[in-house]
Symmetry: C2
């Protein structure tokens, strides 16, 4: 029974209630059997993938049967003429990507956890990643879903058809529903042609405004970066400490990727990007073409989460979204709320305004932190929403963002959410207490 303990949490590190039973089905029929057993016993049902969720979506908070999809992990079909992959929910995202890339095809969504997270989890959370800027998020790639409604009745929505406007879009409703509406056992994903070439460019600016202005210029002058990440000086300071190497920490870094179907195309885009960066005041530019060069360029960006954790007593993360043009103002507000005990900073996806905000305890005792952290979190999320943004761009609502959902959804919309949930799951047994109460 100690096994069951392992399924009480996820990457939110919230410790839920030990499951009544943990099942790792190997067939869809076994999933159906689980649901029927749960129905008979009036148990709740919580489905999980790799447990990499950041908001507690996979944490059981009632006496529940946990269905872990880890063994339902086959790529059923990579169908080249139809440009789709058909997968079971337990397939690791990065594994599918590697397999389709061998065939010259591309599945773009690239959450940070892609080497361990599962496609079922990606669907449940509507995962994104840096490439979302150019290529969209998981929802943009889901053509078909098979699975079971809460009572064990099977469903099959969409499939290998690339267009479909028949009836209300239940697929989009299920994507991002965090296991609260139905259980997914098979996913049909759209694949696109693999860009064969790419190149990474880092530009260092004196001000965030210059970096933002550069990016806005790119879009209107024939460049579509496949990623545009940023780090400000407070992030660079943390990285410098963590990596134990000097970094020019007085500046803002913009890290872009351009990709395309020919070396010539990537070269032209990269040259344009470099020239815009310089024209807009870049102090320094660096270009990376080989895997080793690219890896070096991304070292700072990649270490940030760990660096910030290492340099603080406690860390709370939010993945807010603001309209891209408001990023500068948003970050300056975070700075204004910082002091010698608490530091607020942000980094992430400059292109689509999806900012990973960190609230760091650098000097408070436990009691003080526990008092002040919720207030600061509330401030951060309210600020994003007041700027026309969102309380979450990638991580979902789960448990941790539930107290803030009302910032984005008025009472009528909350009521609609509850009614939709009741339509799919009238007894409230599918991952109860997630997204809404």
């Amino acid at each position: 029974m100690s096994l069951n303990e392992d399924y009480r949490s996820d990457h939110s590190h919230i410790l839920g209630i030990t499951p009544i039973e943990v099942v790792c089905p190997t067939t869809a029929d076994e999933v159906k059997a689980c649901l029927e057993k749960a129905k008979e016993n009036r148990w709740d049902v919580v489905v999980r993938g790799a447990g990499t969720g950041m908001t507690g979506g996979a944490v059981p908070i009632s006496k529940a049967l946990v269905i872990s999809m880890e063994k339902l992990n086959a790529i059923l079909d990579i169908d080249i003429p139809n440009r789709v992959a058909v997968v079971q929910p337990g397939v690791i995202t990065g594994y599918l990507q590697a397999e389709v890339e061998k065939q010259g095809l591309f599945y773009p969504p690239d959450p940070a956890s892609l080497v361990i997270c599962t496609l079922g989890g990606n669907v449940a959370e509507n995962a994104g990643g840096p490439r979302a800027l150019k290529y969209g998020v998981t929802r943009d790639y889901v053509l078909g879903l098979k699975g079971f409604w809460v009572d064990g009745t099977p469903f099959s929505l969409g499939g290998k058809q690339h267009k479909n406007v028949a009836g209300y879009d239940l697929i989009s409703l299920l994507v991002g529903s965090e296991g609260t509406l139905g259980i997914i056992t098979e996913i049909t994903l759209k694949l696109i042609p693999l860009p064969l070439h790419s190149c990474d460019i880092q530009a260092v600016f004196k001000t965030m405004a210059e970096a933002l202005h550069t990016l806005a210029n790119l879009y209107t002058h024939g460049i579509f970066p496949s990623a545009a990440e940023f780090m400000d000086r407070s992030c660079l300071e943390a990285a410098s400490l963590y990596l134990n190497k000097p970094l020019d920490t007085q500046d803002y870094r913009l890290l872009c990727q351009v990709d395309g179907f020919s070396e010539e195309d990537v070269h032209i885009q990269a040259e344009r990007l470099l020239s815009y960066c310089k024209k807009n005041g870049a102090l320094e530019v660096e270009i990376a073409k080989t895997p080793a060069e690219k890896s070096k360029l991304w070292e700072v960006r990649r270490c940030l989460s760990l660096a910030l954790k290492a340099n603080s007593l406690n860390k709370t993360s939010h993945d807010v979204v603001v309209p891209p043009a408001s990023i500068g103002h948003f970050l300056s507000m975070l700075t204004s709320w910082s002091n010698e005990s608490v530091q607020l900073l942000g980094y992430g996806h400059l292109g689509d305004g999806n900012i990973h905000v960190n609230i760091l305890n650098v000097g408070l005792d436990k009691a003080e932190w526990e008092k002040i952290e919720p207030l600061l979190s509330q401030n951060v999320l309210e600020l994003a929403v007041n700027m026309g943004g969102s309380i979450t761009g990638e991580h979902g609502i789960g448990l941790t963002k539930k107290p803030y959902l009302h910032l984005m959804a008025d009472s009528r919309v909350m009521e609609l959410y509850r009614s939709i949930k009741a339509v799919f799951d009238p007894e409230n047994r599918l991952n109860p207490g997630k997204i809404i109460n």
Copy 2:
């Protein structure tokens, strides 16, 4: 009152019931007032754009107040740093496209009616077009919606944020809901960088299989066409007659577009495409770079709808979808059902398998046609669904496809549709009788 007669129909040519009242609001407040008046009087409410819908979605079939969005037609904002356009629903699709292209930005969805149809209608039907192959459909570009629920309560969902996973995806649910769930008065659309260059290529093949094989090869070898249309020999015969010029009607035509951010890139893609076409047996290839050359190349494809109508006594159109690899088999089935009195043929979007099927009466009297046409329609739609496709890829369900929705949605899904409708519109007063009963 004769004005009201004009609002009884749309491009489906179904003649509905004369509206109780037709209102052309110029502000969102007037829309709200309409809804309150309708509520008071227990009238149904039917919203319409330009009335270019093909399935009767805008046809009032009960005593209803009709809200025509023709005067709510302002582009409120083209926000370059945030890469969005904010528009009222009555804005003509092609007009927005021209305006954003002046700024170097791009709104891709391109339904055939784009010079007259409205963005509100596009949202209601989730419109597509040839460019959907590379760029997706309307739903992929809707970041925010404002409007009113049936009782006049305002809503605001999403906005200028490019990512958002907070709560169930009500935006995707409203897109394609054909005015049955809520009334939209403001739309925020994602814009992307405008591809500055493009080139069209036509290849003539002996067999559909060769054309399909070519296309499947392209995707895995670094070419992403922005359109891939096909016409088979029966279409070419009709076009030859209509245009009164000889066409090589023994063959299959593939008409592709490639686009990109540099001339060099487009040139490389075009050369690759040409070489794949030749390698796969193309009898003839033609390349068009100037607007005049492009226009000549598209002449045959563009005239098809009118040509088929001109060459027949009656014409029924369906826009089915099949998995792309099944197109050849699907078309051969249509041919096998044709005879000297009734001709079935298809053309359209080869890339995404969205086929415009035409059932043509070329020799039956009215009574015979009215007997046989529904049977053939049923066969065509059943065949598409049995192949793993859809009964509609672009035109929606409206009235004309409603009898066939059950082919795609089992009784449980139909029940979910009805329950969702009831959640949003408990008195069934928003465009009643559309999509579902």
